[in-house]
């Protein structure tokens, strides 16, 4: 069967790619666009390693088809830093050692950024609930939650 032609915006850039019907957005990002920062941990929407935003909404890119991204705006971990300046969340993750092996980190960062866009002053509980869809097996969640709260405070200018 012929492949689908998809045009979308990824991290602010216009992109186009061809994909099979059954290819997920995750496959397309990684295999067609070379954006390997988005990770595949489970393919069932359980681990959150593949988190991206689509038109501002946080999604597991393993649960969405590539063709569904047509005409949409996708943001991945690769678009988070501005030039050579890390996003406050990225910096705080490093400072708080909120990562160990790092495989879950892009997903956590994308999810956390999405939270702070909606809720610039989240409570700890809110952070924990929002990040409940992202699994980490190395550090536990405490440092991650602290890093998010610290980044939120800095971004608010507190």
């Amino acid at each position: 069967m012929a492949k689908h032609h998809v045009t979308a915006t990824v991290n602010g850039d216009a992109v186009e790619f061809l994909c099979e019907t059954e290819e997920t957005l995750l496959d397309c990002l990684r295999d067609q666009l070379g954006l390997i920062g988005t990770k595949e941990g489970c393919s069932t929407g359980d681990c959150g390693a593949c988190s991206v935003t689509v038109d501002g909404r946080l999604v597991c890119s393993c649960l969405m088809l590539g063709v569904e991204a047509n005409g949409k705006s996708v943001a991945t971990i690769e678009g988070m830093a501005q030039g050579d300046v890390l996003h406050p969340l990225q910096r705080k993750f490093i400072e708080h050692a909120a990562l160990q092996c790092g495989i879950c980190t892009p997903g956590f960062l994308v999810a956390a950024k999405s939270l702070l866009e909606k809720s610039p002053n989240p409570s700890e509980t809110e952070v924990r609930y929002w990040l409940a869809g992202n699994l980490c097996r190395c550090t536990g969640y405490d440092k991650i939650v602290r890093a998010v709260l610290d980044a939120a405070a800095e971004m608010r200018g507190a």
């Binding site: 059954e22 993750f93 490093i94």
Partner: protein, 643 residues
Amino acid sequence: MQEKVREPGSEFKWVGTRPDRPDGADKVTGRARFGADLAMAGQIVGKVLRSPHPHARIRSIDTIAAEKLAGVKAVVTAKDFKDQPSEFIPAGEMMINYRDVVRSVMAREKALYEGHPIAAVAATSTAIAKQALKLIKVDYEVLPHVIDVVEAMQPGAPLLDEGMFTAGVEPAPKTPSNVAKRVEFVLGDVAAGFKQADVVVERSFTTKPVHQGYIEPHACIASVSEDGQADLWVTTQGHWIVRAHCARLLGWDISKIRVTASEIGGGFGGKTVVYLEPVALALAKKAGRPVKMVMTREEVFRASGPTSGAHVRVKIGARKDGRIVAAEAELKYQAGAFPGSPVQPGAMCAYAPYDLENVKVVGYDVVTNRPKVAAYRAPGGPISEFAVESVIDEIAGKIGMDPIELRLKNAAKQGTKAAYGPKFGPIGMIATLEAAKAHAHWRTPLGKNQGRGVASGFWFNIGGETAVSLSLNEDGTLALTAGTPDIGGLRASLCMMAAEELGVPMDKIRVAIGDTNSLGYNFLTGGSRSTFSSGMATVEAAREVIKESCKRAAKLWELPEDAVEYKDGAVRPAGPNAGKHNPMTLKEIAGIAGKTGGPIAGYSRINAAGAAPSLATHVCDVEVDPETGRVWVVRYTAIQDAG
């Protein structure tokens, strides 16, 4: 700005601080490349056909239709791997047998678990590879299976290996069974001990074959040139181990294979063995194209090793004064499809935290129709210790003694002879118990529906073969290369140690994990060995750089070598006859390296000795919701004797 914690009065400048990790920026930006993240020109996709049956004899495999499918470039089965003789070799904290590894990588006579690899294909797309798998015809004779450890030990249980006669039993059994091995550790006389007991508690425990659950599935990409030189990129805890296993299974010289360890997305012991790697190499050789193989999460759970599920019986007798007079344990550990559960370390750990006169621990290594178990965070230890510690808490309750006091009365200390053989050196068991007793947690009142448990634990830790290189760059900065995959911050630790020795800032050192061609043999990351062993080698390599730098300055200054010293990042004249020379920094030394003898580098090759066991005491409060049965942890205090 982050907190840079240093202990007051510390003799160290870098060690003990909390610098940004060298791998941090790459990991927060998505740059870090894990097992599935490398692409090679012309790469194709490898997929594995797995047994739908937990136990079946393989009568035949017909791959002709799959091979003929357009887009299929290679198909492999067990025929592509030479059979191996039975021979146990150390692999981390576990032992492996190549006869079993070759069968684990590709089923030969039988499929031994649901998910056991039967064949593999490489094709130009995932869709074609999957279609090709469906075209492979396998004629199975389905056999009865057994997945429970106790049932597997029963007479008449389905036999996984008709040639398996329990080792470690005298006289040797005449009939085969699923029990691969019996181990026993005995101290004193437990029967006599139980006669002195005022209280005896006997309990049985069942544990599940819990999977390590690393977020990154197994993944690799293999490329084999027409001249037989192979490159393998893989997520692993030990790329030298992967190289050795692949060379052995494929019958290639080790020199033909260069393995690069990708960033590793968690392992916890589970990435100390090979699954896809020899298959990817075999497919790549046949196809003449790079082959990338990535397990799905489903494949990880179906076909890679969890820890053992187990059945454990513990019987402990104590006097009213709290002295344990007899301690017995029987451990039945699932090995999965092939022998080699961690029952031996489990048996060794069971009573290791205690100084006891009468101990008997018996362990059984039992095969079942499940994936072969793999190492998992102190393999075997938590299973037996969970059972023992639960019974010790119950004994404390029965004699009305504080459970920490009870443990203190029986704690192992320097000079204690452990049931598994050695006499302990200086260990911190008592210190962890005293710290737990002194901690505010122990005095915190419990709320409604809350309970408190305490447990102590023991693990060995290992050293092993390690090589590290440290090169002085032309501008005086440094390149540090280690060979133990960095699973949790190794690069930061090594960088701090090198900076400490050399007296230079950490950011002057670029640290990397080298491929198998860049260093001598490195044993894998496991057993808490990588910071210990690669750290020791890093310090040695740094001292070699210092020694050589001194030699070069001495040459320039026309002084004997002992008339110069290295201090605060510079070589200086030392002693009364050294004369006046301006100190030479590493930058200046690097500048004269060429004309004083060539590049300066340290290269340490060691078999790190002196790893000490670690002991721990943890206190945990949980709360139960009596309506829903939900249990959650409300307070947890961990006290570690880190060795």
